[in-house]
């Protein structure tokens, strides 16, 4: 007697219903809630940062990572959400944090030692405690001040643990670093770089008359987790039943809209 695959699947699912509902059926994962960063160019490029997921913001020195972070902090603290910043390099400047409600920001300053690995260990333990405690709208781990070699030594299991800790929660977990290191655990990876510095006057005038007016920064979506399988063109062409698969490594999206201007404001 031959049974069709649909009948067999239905029987197996019925037998496992109490323990594993819809064990063999594709259950679409709900779209994550997105949060705007407050920088129009970045939001247009990536559609906002996903909550309940891990996002990496990477770039070298003066690439705009901290500018993006402070803009995000300003938005979230003004929404009366509690935010946490694990500062591995103790480099956060409260004076730069214009618009941020500092009373809603928990700042964990990791103690500077001669060994970056010791500071990194403090940062990872602090992140574990904060993510397990819950209740924060944004948790940031700032590793931008650490050497790349030290951050590369963070085991993948740690990133995976962080991702699991924020899954199905409204917490946005943001990593600031020089290069991406969370690999597939990150749902979104943004690459920033400084395109051009902006000086208020020409270079021919005396130096005391020049003013650093701002920076032109470039943002690129290096990786994005596509959560909707139906959007993938390859599968649509094949017209096969959807399976519970993820699409990784979407091509980089570098657009003109990915350039934003960070300005300085001077009190005159």
């Amino acid at each position: 007697m031959r049974f069709s695959s649909h009948v067999v699947r239905a029987q197996v699912e019925a037998a496992l219903e109490s323990r594993f509902p819809s064990a063999l059926s594709f259950v679409p994962r709900p779209q994550p809630e997105m949060t705007w960063t407050g920088i129009a160019a970045v939001d247009a490029a990536c559609g906002g940062l996903p909550r309940g997921a891990l996002t990496e913001v990477c770039g070298p020195e003066s690439s705009g990572r901290t500018t993006l972070l402070l803009s995000l902090l300003a938005r979230m603290t003004q929404r009366q959400e509690a935010c946490a910043l694990i500062d591995a390099g103790d480099s956060f400047s409260p004076h730069s944090a214009a618009g941020v409600d500092l009373s809603r920001l928990l700042w964990v300053r990791c103690k500077r030692t001669k060994r970056d690995l010791h500071v990194l260990e403090q940062a990872l333990k602090a992140a574990d405690q904060i993510l397990q405690g819950g209740g924060f709208g944004l948790v940031v781990m700032d590793l931008a001040g650490l050497e790349v070699q030290a951050v590369r030594r963070v085991p993948l299991a740690s990133w995976f643990r962080f991702r699991r800790a924020v899954e199905n929660t409204p917490t946005l977990f943001l990593i600031l670093e020089r290069e991406a290191s969370a690999k597939t655990c990150a749902s979104l990876v943004l690459q920033l770089r400084l395109r051009e510095e902006v000086w208020a006057s020409g270079k021919s005038v005396p130096s005391h008359a020049q003013v650093l007016a701002g920076m032109k920064l470039e943002v690129e979506v290096a990786r994005r987790h596509s959560s909707s399988i139906h959007d993938h063109p390859a599968l649509l062409e094949q017209k096969k039943p959807a399976t519970a698969a993820r699409i990784w490594g979407a091509p980089a999206e570098k657009t003109e809209a990915g350039i934003f201007h960070a300005r300085t404001e001077w009190a005159v």
Binding site: Q78, V108, G135, F136, R263
Partner: protein
């Protein structure tokens, strides 16, 4: 109007058993226990439970005599523990009725008029009183009667829960021995010579001869024996003072067994707070240390003073959870351990009204205060709040009102009591969105030392981290100075410089410190 009485027999033994850990407490009650008082070798037995008395213990025995009785556990009397036990007894009564009289350290009487609507019949109320007493760590007798004295005598004479119906006081109390009335010793001796040993026998005596021989006191005793007296209660008006203490026979050196004892005290404190519908936001722990004359203690104990180790926990919101308090104390003691073994523990709290919050349906989710406090304590232990380290590394930043560069302080993080509350959230978010992104700076703490090569008074090359880097563009200098009237003024010339690194451009703020004559990197624009 009915009255209830709670009487704890063998009170000195119960006070000690209450403070002992649960397993030992239960064991102590099941054993023959005698309590000694006085300095050795003059310590004598002052109290004993029924099993100890059956084994031959009598009040007034010396320690040596008491030790000759097999199977008897000896403990030293603790006034502090008895005081705590009495306070717990009063708290238990106050959780039922606002009118409570403290007749003796081991006896309280409460007015239970009107409580039948809450607790039902008097028998059920008596059982509930006994159950609540057990939760506070003691076992006692409960009696309900129409007048306070009858209730007291019934609680002293009958074990368990007793209810005397109205009008049956003489009948029910008749079988009790005369000493439940606690008469003076000479009266008791006289009654014993007369052969009067029960309350019924005393009540049946003719009143006139009793008055002639014993005076008004004898008449009063007769009325008490019949259960006919009626008086008003003298209610207890005690300041709300929650203290629990424990004296240890053997000093405790390690933190783990100390934590076990702290858990016991915290459970009792929180139970007492809950019985009064109160919470606390301050916990004070005092540990008396066992100091050997030859041992040099930590500086916090002054020479010649009794060695104590004091810690204080301040919480942002009032709490009642003993487990949270225990965790916070454990983390605090790990960071600040006592310098010597502990021989006495005292814990005090300041009562406060419990936190009352009304969460909105769309209000933002915030960390729970209890979870947050434990998390902050753990974060402090991770980033290293070492002894003598005055800096705070975990909290909310607060910009100070000064022009000094990078001047800020860390304040405790409490999101529940912070924020801009007067403006609607949507307006704040819209205002934040309308502003362009502002360039941020990452500061170096402390500033990085730098060597600068000048060309025509402008920085041309930087020697940073062993590398010689050319300056592509620069702006400055701007003099930044201040607080010349203080002992630590600052004065520096600041420059914004753009350099070309391997990966691309980078922008830094550097400065020349006028006081030290050196160059530093203040921060990086990012």
């Amino acid at each position: 109007m009915p009255f209830a009485c709670i009487h704890v027999p063998d009170f000195a033994v119960e006070a000690i058993a209450r403070s002992a850990p649960a397993a030992d407490g239960a064991t102590l009650r099941q054993q023959a226990v005698a309590v000694l008082e006085g300095a050795p070798p003059l310590a004598r037995v002052t109290a004993a439970n029924q099993k100890a008395r059956a084994a031959g213990i009598e009040p007034g025995m010396t320690r040596l005599q008491a030790e000759s009785c097999a199977g008897v556990v000896l403990r030293m009397r603790s006034a502090a523990q008895e005081e705590s036990a009495h306070a717990a007894l009063v708290d238990c009564a106050c959780s039922f009725s606002p009118v409570v009289e403290s007749s003796a350290p081991e006896t309280v009487v409460l007015d239970i008029g009107g409580l039948e609507h809450l607790f039902g019949a008097p028998a059920r109320l008596a059982q509930e009183l006994a159950r609540r007493l057990c939760l506070l760590g003691m076992e006692g007798n409960v009696a309900v009667a129409e007048n306070p004295d009858a209730a007291i005598h019934a609680a002293r004479g009958f074990a368990g829960a007793t209810v005397i119906p109205p009008g049956k006081e003489a009948e029910r109390l008749g079988l009790l021995p005369v000493d439940v009335l606690a008469p003076p010793p000479d009266v008791l001796e006289m009654l014993d010579r007369w052969g009067i040993r029960t309350l019924r026998a005393l009540a049946s005596l003719p009143p006139v001869p009793v008055t002639e021989r014993l005076g008004q006191q004898g008449l009063r005793l007769q009325k008490l024996a019949r259960g006919e007296t009626m008086r008003k209660l003298a209610p207890v008006i005690e300041p709300l003072h929650f203290v629990e203490s424990m004296e240890l026979e053997d000093a405790v050196e390690l933190l783990d067994p100390l934590s076990f004892l702290l858990a016991r005290l915290l459970e009792q404190l929180c139970a007492r707070l809950r019985s009064r519908a109160l919470a606390t936001n301050e916990l004070r722990l005092t540990l008396e240390l066992e100091v050997h004359p030859d041992v040099q203690l930590h500086a916090e104990t002054s020479a010649g003073a009794e060695a104590v180790h004091q810690r204080k926990l301040r919480l942002p919101v009032p709490m009642q959870d003993s487990k949270v308090f225990l965790k916070l104390l454990q983390l605090d003691l790990r960071a600040h351990p006592p310098a010597a073994p502990v021989r006495k523990i005292r814990m005090e709290t300041e009562p406060a009204r419990p936190r009352q919050t009304q969460d909105g349906l769309f209000s933002q989710r915030l960390p729970q205060p209890e979870t947050l406090e434990v998390m902050l304590a753990r974060l402090n232990s991770i980033v290293g709040v070492a002894t003598g380290d005055s800096q705070v590394w975990v909290g909310s930043p607060e910009v100070m009102d000064t022009h000094r560069p990078d001047a800020f302080r860390i304040v405790p993080f409490s999101p529940h009591t912070s924020g801009i509350k007067n403006q609607p959230v949507e307006k704040l978010v819209r205002e934040a969105a309308e502003k362009p992104a502002q360039m941020a700076m990452r500061v170096f703490r402390p500033p990085l030392p730098l060597r600068v090569e000048l060309r025509g008074e402008r920085p041309a090359f930087l020697l940073l981290r062993g590398k010689r880097i050319a300056v592509a563009a620069s702006a400055g200098p701007w003099r930044n100075s201040g607080e010349w009237w203080n002992t630590e003024p600052w004065s520096r010339d600041e420059w914004d410089v753009g350099v070309k690194l391997e990966h691309g451009l980078a922008l830094y703020r550097i400065f020349f410190d006028q006081r030290s004559g050196s160059w530093f990197v203040a921060g990086e624009y990012d």
